[in-house]
């Protein structure tokens, strides 16, 4: 079994050789239903996604804006569970052994699943890393350290409020990459300008050799291009949950347009990221 850290490292090494940043796509697992969600996930790499963040739905996503909140509720209503998310990832992994999968969400569903059981199941499913919003370094003993021991990356969020004194604590047990949150706020609420983000990325880079991906507030190919120019990756989330929502019928069910809406957006964003490489 490939170590989760190795697959992420290999992906960033490959991109570095190509001279471009990573497009990191966040899609909500099970949104709008499991079958459609699996088709979206299967299509992402060919559409240009370099790393897949798979959202784990939670009833109370405290750091998320309305679009991702509602996406999670759609997925829950359609019957998603953590076990089904892991099974979907495992199916994907049988077809694609190279694209890293990072699970992103909140701690309680994992807590309920049981940490050792979850880590074993995640490894078996071919998951490479975890981003858990409500587990700061102060709670590393809960999941971060066991995850590292199990061969998974634990990707930490660094934020504009993470000052230089705190940054070492945030970076200490981080692996895979660092996820820089470009503004203080919830997902989908704002956007940051590339200059501000560039200086923040430089500040983090002084303290780590890990790749740095930037997220929150990147919706368009132009924004993806600008962020890809100053970081090692651009993370897009809310634009995808919006794309899913806008493709649904009046009853909130998937239509023939749903999968294409997400994959077309992926292609456009990938072109934006690639444009930054040509300019760079």
């Amino acid at each position: 079994m490939i170590d989760g850290r190795a697959r992420i490292e290999a992906r960033f090494a490959k991109l570095q050789a190509e001279g471009r940043a990573a497009l990191v796509t966040y899609v909500m697992s099970g949104d709008p239903d499991l079958e459609t969600s699996a088709r979206i996930m299967a299509g992402l790499p060919a559409a240009g996604a370099d790393i897949i963040e798979l959202g784990m739905a939670f009833t109370d996503p405290m750091a998320d804006g309305p679009s991702i909140q509602v996406a999670g509720l759609r997925a829950l209503k359609a019957g998603i569970t953590l076990a089904k998310t892991l099974a979907m990832a495992a199916d994907f992994r049988r077809q694609d052994t190279e694209t890293p999968i990072v699970l992103m969400g909140y701690y309680n569903p994992i807590h309920a699943f049981g940490v050792p059981e979850f880590l074993a199941a995640a490894r078996a499913a071919g998951i490479d890393g975890l981003i858990i919003v409500d587990l700061p370094p102060e709670e590393d003993a809960e999941l971060c350290l066991p995850a590292l021991a199990a061969g998974l990356s634990f990707i930490r969020l660094a934020t504009p409020t993470t000052d230089d004194n705190r940054l070492p604590a945030v970076l200490a047990n981080t692996s895979g990459f660092v996820y820089y949150v470009s503004y203080s706020g919830i997902t989908g609420a704002g956007s940051a300008d590339a200059d501000t983000v560039a200086s923040a990325v430089a500040r983090i880079r002084r303290q780590t050799d890990l790749p740095i991906a930037v997220g929150f507030g990147i919706r368009t190919p132009e924004q993806a291009r600008d962020m890809a120019a100053v970081a090692d990756g651009a993370v897009v989330g809310t634009a995808f949950t919006d794309a899913v929502r806008n493709s649904l019928d009046a009853d909130g069910k998937a239509t023939a347009a749903t999968v294409a809406a997400v994959l077309d957006l992926t292609q456009a964003l990938a072109a934006g990221v690639a444009a930054s490489a040509r300019e760079g």
Binding site: P61, N108, H111, A112, V133, D134, E139, L157, D163, S184
Partner: protein, 403 residues
């Protein structure tokens, strides 16, 4: 589980009460949460802070609140002597003002210029709006849409006090969702905003500091009981949503081991129906809103919506120190249904001339269960933590009366 030497030493450095509590917060908030803890430690070490708080508690909130011997309820139940700690007589009509005064003084020390709060029944929202008016700070209160509907008088009071009330339409549209939305505001406005959490929950140090600010209830009750009866009570009873009024009464008595303590959760339609808000009786440990505690949740760790006639108890969690006091067996967590609370609400109004809030009506409903069988020299202290004016429309609706 090993019995501790004292039940009053928590939390530990990591904010834990046993396995509960902690700091399960987003990174954006962590620097501020650590700053809050440092500011609170500095305030604790500064006698000037305590003096300032005591001044406002006495001259503004009207403390101490009386400890009233409820003779007619005592005679009605025919057993134990029942004393009511009259925290409903505080300015704003509940115990919530104790904590809000403490937190806004901290906010001022930290140089914060904007206040946010969540509210269920509206009592904490009113208290937050009140102290914000007192100190001239803008205040935004998040309140679930369902609660906005059933607590109209408090919504209007908050607006009169100059606060902005934002109805929350996500999830169950009650207290849990108001907390989510307040957290989202806080993450967005972290630099200038102080979040006054209304109960003994949230990331460390909130459970500790809210407990400390509410402990004035139990400290007063202790002295008042010694004056009235020359001894400590035998039993304490308080209702629990998040658990701040209960913790305030219980904490100063936790090491008096002869005293039996009951926290009364809201059983809604009945625990067996699944439609309730009893997190300890009907939940299991999980992580939500910054702390580990007992939560109502399904097998997949998704939070289940709570149900209670009382907006203030309509929450799927409970403060982490209560969770620990349950684990170590020091406090007994029991429950009372909507129907039982409604009966107690009417009984108290008729027999004592005190219209209780629906929240302490749950506590009284449990007193009604145990008092008749206790000897006449047995003393119960119940926390009458809020007045019921805000609930008259809900109660009228339940009784089929048009107001």
């Amino acid at each position: 589980m090993l019995k501790p030497n004292s039940y009053r030493t928590g939390p530990d450095m990591a904010g834990r009460f046993g396995s509960h509590g902690g700091r399960f917060a987003a990174e954006t908030l962590m620097p501020l949460i650590l700053e809050l803890e440092a500011a609170y430690r500095a305030a604790q070490a500064d006698p000037g802070f305590r003096d300032e708080l005591n001044y406002y508690l006495a001259q503004y909130a009207g403390r101490p609140s009386p400890l009233f011997f409820a003779e007619r309820l005592t005679a009605h139940f025919g057993g134990a002597k029942i004393y009511l700690k009259r925290d409903e007589l505080n300015h704003t009509g509940s115990h919530k003002i104790n904590n809000c005064l403490g937190q806004i003084l901290l906010a001022r020390r930290m140089g914060k210029t904007r206040i946010i709060a969540e509210t269920g029944a509206g009592q904490h929202g009113v208290a937050s709006a009140t102290v914000s008016a007192l100190f001239g700070l803008p205040c935004t209160v998040y309140m679930g849409e369902v609660d906005v509907q059933r607590q109209q008088p408090n919504v209007f009071r908050m607006k009169l006090l100059g606060a902005e009330v934002i109805p929350v339409s996500s999830g169950s549209r009650t207290l849990k969702d108001a907390l989510n939305e307040a957290m989202r505001d806080w993450v967005t406005n972290v630099n200038d905003t102080f979040y006054i959490i209304g109960t003994v929950a949230g990331p460390h140090p909130y459970p500790e500091l809210v407990r400390d600010f509410q402990s004035v209830i139990g400290e007063e009750a202790r002295q008042q009981m010694l004056l009235a009866e020359g001894r400590l009570p035998d039993t304490l009873v308080a209702c629990i949503g998040g658990g701040s009024n209960a913790m305030g009464l219980f904490h100063p008595f936790l090491d008096d081991e002869g005293i039996e303590i009951f926290g009364v959760e809201a059983a809604g339609d009945g625990i067996e129906t699944g439609r309730h808000a009893a997190s300890i009786t009907g939940g299991r440990p999980g992580v939500l809103h910054g702390n580990r505690t007992y939560l109502l949740q399904d097998d997949d760790g998704q939070i289940i919506e709570a149900h209670s006639i009382s907006a203030g108890l309509d929450y799927p969690g409970i403060g982490p120190e209560h969770a620990w006091l349950h684990d170590v067996g020091r406090v007994n967590y029991v429950s009372a249904t909507d129907a039982e609370a409604l009966a107690a609400f009417q009984l108290c109004s008729k027999l004592e001339g005190i219209i209780p809030a629906l929240e302490p009506a749950h506590a009284l409903a449990y007193v009604a269960k145990i008092a008749p069988d206790l000897p006449k020299d047995h003393i119960i202290v119940m926390n009458m933590c809020g007045r019921g004016d805000k609930d008259i429309f809900t109660v009228a609706g339940m009784l089929g009366v048009e107001v």
